[in-house]
Symmetry: D4
Subunit: 176 residues, 8 copies
Amino acid sequence: MPDSALTAGSTPLVGVVMGSASDYDTLAPACEVLAELGIPYEARVVSAHRTPDWLFEYAEQAHARGLRAIIAGAGGAAHLPGMLASKTLVPVLGVPVVATPLNGLDALLSIVQMPGGIPVATFAIGKPGATNAALYAAQLLAAGDAALHDALLNRRRVKAAEALARPLNAPNAIIP
Amino acid sequence: MPDSALTAGSTPLVGVVMGSASDYDTLAPACEVLAELGIPYEARVVSAHRTPDWLFEYAEQAHARGLRAIIAGAGGAAHLPGMLASKTLVPVLGVPVVATPLNGLDALLSIVQMPGGIPVATFAIGKPGATNAALYAAQLLAAGDAALHDALLNRRRVKAAEALARPLNAPNAIIP
Amino acid sequence: MPDSALTAGSTPLVGVVMGSASDYDTLAPACEVLAELGIPYEARVVSAHRTPDWLFEYAEQAHARGLRAIIAGAGGAAHLPGMLASKTLVPVLGVPVVATPLNGLDALLSIVQMPGGIPVATFAIGKPGATNAALYAAQLLAAGDAALHDALLNRRRVKAAEALARPLNAPNAIIP
Amino acid sequence: MPDSALTAGSTPLVGVVMGSASDYDTLAPACEVLAELGIPYEARVVSAHRTPDWLFEYAEQAHARGLRAIIAGAGGAAHLPGMLASKTLVPVLGVPVVATPLNGLDALLSIVQMPGGIPVATFAIGKPGATNAALYAAQLLAAGDAALHDALLNRRRVKAAEALARPLNAPNAIIP
Amino acid sequence: MPDSALTAGSTPLVGVVMGSASDYDTLAPACEVLAELGIPYEARVVSAHRTPDWLFEYAEQAHARGLRAIIAGAGGAAHLPGMLASKTLVPVLGVPVVATPLNGLDALLSIVQMPGGIPVATFAIGKPGATNAALYAAQLLAAGDAALHDALLNRRRVKAAEALARPLNAPNAIIP
Amino acid sequence: MPDSALTAGSTPLVGVVMGSASDYDTLAPACEVLAELGIPYEARVVSAHRTPDWLFEYAEQAHARGLRAIIAGAGGAAHLPGMLASKTLVPVLGVPVVATPLNGLDALLSIVQMPGGIPVATFAIGKPGATNAALYAAQLLAAGDAALHDALLNRRRVKAAEALARPLNAPNAIIP
Amino acid sequence: MPDSALTAGSTPLVGVVMGSASDYDTLAPACEVLAELGIPYEARVVSAHRTPDWLFEYAEQAHARGLRAIIAGAGGAAHLPGMLASKTLVPVLGVPVVATPLNGLDALLSIVQMPGGIPVATFAIGKPGATNAALYAAQLLAAGDAALHDALLNRRRVKAAEALARPLNAPNAIIP
Amino acid sequence: MPDSALTAGSTPLVGVVMGSASDYDTLAPACEVLAELGIPYEARVVSAHRTPDWLFEYAEQAHARGLRAIIAGAGGAAHLPGMLASKTLVPVLGVPVVATPLNGLDALLSIVQMPGGIPVATFAIGKPGATNAALYAAQLLAAGDAALHDALLNRRRVKAAEALARPLNAPNAIIP
């Protein structure tokens, strides 16, 4: 089991985990947002079904390792976020991945419909959900980090300006 | 904020707004129908989530600016039409955009299932909905504009004739 | 066929039609809102499937009779709003009625997914949709009626105040 | 209106109608099966929404023209089969066409969920539904046509043999 | 096995079969319509899953016994209509029954989504579907029975009149 | 943790586990079928989310304790069957329980859409699924138990006879 | 507008807001969990559609007022959580409320399918979601509050013990 | 009918059957897993709708031929698994195939929602379901075959190691 990895280098504040390396395409925006904001993170494969013991170990050590949030992406019968949440009080942020012909509806329901007692914060299906899970993790960390709070405020301003400035390819478009 | 744009040139009767410039592909048929019918309109990016203040400003000024209808397209958790409607009595026409793996069902429900008190007129998912929102706006304006009424009547006659005249590539097809 | 009715008494501005008298329970809020706002209306049974000729007649005469909007409620394979719209340029407002075990989803899709060319403005499933269809019809009429516009503005203010003033049965509730 | 066509040449027993020429791709298998079985048919564009009067005319004349079945394909808010059925006792066979992002579910519900009183026989979404509507029409006609009955029986035998004889590209496949 | 029943008394033209006696509540309207129209029918329990051999026997003998249509109601994974259709050319009319928490959507899809080759005519979920299956069977029989054709025409006229005459409990209702 | 229970009395061949004692209403038919067939079983509460360690312990010991099948019922984001399956090769049979407003569709998808590698045999939503899971477990055991095989065969014969003999409350019913 | 309330007494850390006082039945478990854990909170009506300005004001002041999390419940076209999130960096936790015939699926999609940029943490439909939103808010606060962390750990232990100790009304039940 | 095939060569323990040769693409992973584990199997086309008699024959002979499990894949109105199950006590494992525009949801519901009495073990839609059906069949056989049990255990270990060792294309990825 990959214990040794747990002692490696920098101290990540956010874990970005996924059931399979093939899910990284969906989770990449989460990593990009965290990097953009300078938040130390780690990206790991943790499979609820193929590596359940590793899942438990990861969750059990999350708090002591200093993780402040775990972003977990999974598809189909997506059990990874909920099972992590059952084993740790570190906030879990679930991202439904499109991995079956049902377009992620199965993953969404498997993640969000948790019974009372064990919460998972669920975000949108696919890449927008990954982006938002990372931003939400940053908002959690910003509670004690004014610079991060300002960075997030600024990011919103920039994105708003970009949205309005982007050329609108319409005959009667009005760009402010 | 883009106030200055509000005083620009011609006086549009219909606002065509969308959450992102990338939604224009879906909204284009609305603009084309309005242009075809000679109805002055403007096309704008108004994002419920990224530019909420601009959304409120746009809605608050719509009536005074002379807008008679606002066509609003949005995808996913589509809040733009409903939030515009909450801030103005100018009729809002919502067009669900396909922007997520759920094929627009999320946008449709987010737009149509408004609570009693704040109405949004909802149209079909995607381009047919954009076409129809523009035609519906024209029908509203035609209440006081006999020429527009006649133009709409004529458009229906032409489209009916085209539907029947278009070659049907079937062995036993009968074209009237 | 009920032609004679078409010449009866007061001149309604809004038609509230439904496929069956049993749909009135759902449509009642539309009538109540119209009455509250002093808008003359008529309530009629017009069944797309059982009385198709009457449907066509109703739609064909709507404009000449002075109807400015037709609110049409129907359930299941709800064809009434769309077929009315195919026969008149008077704006049609569709209200999906829960009439089958599918909870109105069938009616919603049957009404909203109109092809490009023949628009139906669709509102929420059930009573909230009926309320909103009536308010939307009022907004259309208010374009040329400042008093009605003011009445609608005032109604919104009252409803907002009521929403905030209604006691919240929570231990830590704050009522402004 | 295309009356003259109604008096044209051979006497079709089955009408294959669709809302738009672009639906023919889905309806083609119906025509092919009818041709294969030697059943005279006609293929026509009849649009519920763009040509409602022609729809009524077509339905009203169907019985007198000798049509024994009407296969009607439509997508989205698919009103064509139900409205034909409301105007004739000639059996209507509805085929849901995929014409929107909802994959034909909207068309299926718009066709099948008819209220009690006006039946439409509904078949599968898309081409299999078109094939089956034609076979079902043939079964109806076979009630009085022993040769057609035998042809249908034989077709089933051939298709069963083909199903079993088709090579199965599996290592341990057993082909009888 | 219930062979002897097959030789019993009157000669039914329509078989009304269902997977369980408890489905009769849903199928009753089919029997009532057939009785109202004077069409001889039989009602039988035929379970695809519990009595598969009896299902095959019933289907194999249907044509020779003179059945002109088989109305088959089933819920959940509803295999009865499709398996009957696979064994006979007598037209099968499927009625989805609400028998599970999925509100009949499972039964609808299990009946209507037949592959090309073996058609089942599908009707609405529940009692309206049962009513319509019986009316459709009557329409099939009316092809060679002018009196039945007239009875069906008359039934539609009566139902239309009833729909219009039924009191509408609305303040501004207009009853023709 | 409830280790001592694992050494208790009789040797169950089937474990019937559920996330909460309140799920027993749904799972009861499984226990009844096992009792009827004389198959030793145990009923236990094992919650994926509230007692994850106990879940792992239960799964890890299942094979050594002689369990030949585990029937696991769960609702909402139903992770119990899949997580048991990830920890044991004893066949797991999942039963979706209706525990949320989504009527068990969430539980069904959370159980059945397992990724390749870790199978869960899934049965129908609710009590029919519980009955069938128990019968399926019996079929597995019957591979090496001719008496059980005969008992299952006989049960089917009895149920078929009951289905046909049950009075059908229809005017023209034929009871064999 | 209810400004004065914002300066009232104790300093809440969590805002529990809902679109209507009638939603409190669903949100009550959130308040109960917060009270149980000794977390100061306030319960407020904030309607996205009826009181949009109050919504903006509430969101704009949330950070300065010391709110560390906002739990927002809404039904139907549920815009409250997303619009709050668009106006503040205080983490928003959305709870879908069952308020329409669609069983909360509309609310779930309206809340969870936010576009990239503005995150809302979404929880299960109805009361379990309310419970979990409160627990999640507590987990956020526990990052800087060891006593709260211990209280949450203890709560999980108690709930696990209760789950296992609750009598299981099954013949062969084993209670540890 | 293909009786002779039933006496052919090696003695398969598992039957892999499908409604059409075109379904083999989906079922191939089942065959590959069985081959990998050295389990004798046969692959056959058995169509519920086109070859119902062959279906019955196959099911009736399955036990006597020594089949210990039947993996049955089907799409749309998927009746094959359920009808096999109605005719044999050999465990049936159903695999929903994507064969219609509904993405396999129709097949899933047609297979899993069996009524109490006739169980079908259902697996995920498409290839993961085929893989898992084969693994589940292997688990059933492993009850009396320690070597197979060890092979399955080992397969899981290998797959877990592969999952963790596969390169994760993320900047901060940690590979154990």
